[in-house]
Amino acid sequence: MKKLLKSKWFIALIVLLVLAAFSILSLLPGSPVKKLLQPVQLVTTPAQSLVKKAGDTLSDFWSAITDGIAIREENKALKEQIADLRYHLTQNEEAALRYEELKEALHIKDTFSNYVIYGAAILSRESDEWFSTIRLNAGAADGIVLEEGNSYPVLDVEMNLVGRVIESSETESRVLPLLHEGFAVAGKVNEVNGATFMVAGDAELKRYGLCLVKGIDPEVRIEPGMEIVTSGDGGLFPEGVHIGVIESVDYSNPLDVTATLRPYSQIGKLEDVFIMIPYVEETEPSSTDAG
């Protein structure tokens, strides 16, 4: 028995069994097992930020050298574009005033007016095919408080859908990216009364950077190049968030029409994202409570 207890294989087996049990326990809602990783996070996060910063600095330095000529040409083109945009801006200011008047009159709501938007930087990305969540530097301390079963949409700087927050700690939150096979969102064609369907991640399409569009009504004509936005069904995502464009459509099975979608957001190139949290108006305490 003593020999068995000292055997390295026996010890390894016990460790593996304990780790497997912890992995399963971590799937339970509100599992305290995850808290065991907090000390590791505490130690490694500053080191990882430092390495990331050093890598970014090197990459920027290299870009500054290699992109010099391209930047000069781009600068010239941008100056021309600015002049053109200034002209359009003066014209649009008039239209904006008119829109505000109409909005008041018709009680039109801005698409995202009911959401508070928090900015966050990406700390770490997926490390391989299966270890694929993204870590952000905003957590409960920054107002990202996630209740069980709830989730918040995450957008890039151009307000395209990136994914959704699925877990938050005091200082960090974890995002399930759009391409992950567990991701799903109700989408629609970006036009008046556009057809609705589901946009979901798919393991096979992930390697091409594509999502699967399913639940398409066979009567509806979906074509490559169509822009897809969130439909707002389900209540998790607001209506009108840009997702991407249809890449191909498969009508071979009339009972199961599917399509592929290329998302606008390029997760690999993102540095900063925005988290959308539904705005809850604080109710004022009643006079009896106050006094």
């Binding site: 390295k8 490694t44 990331k52 990305r125 490390s127 699925i166 399930l176 390697r207």
Partner: protein, 211 residues
Amino acid sequence: MRIITVKTKARARKIIVYAIYIILLSSIQVSFPDSFSFAGQTADLVFVFVVLSGYFNGFWDGAVVGFICGMVRDAFSPPAIVGLDGDIRVTAFIGAFTLFAAGIIGASFFTRRMHRNIPFSIVAVIFVTFCYKIAGYLLIYGWSTISGNNAGIYDPFTAFVYSFLPQLLLNTVASIPMIALLRFLGPVSFKGNANKDEIIEQDGDGTWLGI
């Protein structure tokens, strides 16, 4: 007394070298994954490092380095899977399980018979990567079937051609600079490995004293 001092110093040095590797490689892995990606797969530098640590430095090195690297991976980029209730959840300790297993398999892959020689270490990386992909695929297949979420499953041929092969290629390529790193920056010594197998088996620490 002198021997103990040398051993303690060497042990401290080894721990420091390992700590630097673990932090650097884990950070690079999750900070710039696109820099070493190909065909939708990413070279797993940490995984390769764990296997090689086990292969060259023995069972306990592989196990401890694997466990710590796994914990760091769980902290940085844990997998999210669909639970039995249909909700998606972030898991914990799957990284620790995977890399701990990788470390001990790497340490046991014909290490004595091949005297921990360098060319065979690449075969060890290929073998353990293959085991990892097969086990991962089977686990996902089983879990997806139980949870009723088929989005994570792809057919065996696709898995082999588009997931296993690119990953094997990338990890094999990554293992070459990694061996050079381990050789020149420590904590592995390749001087007279044939004679050191016994020491590794008994002690687990002595071999890298010649760095």
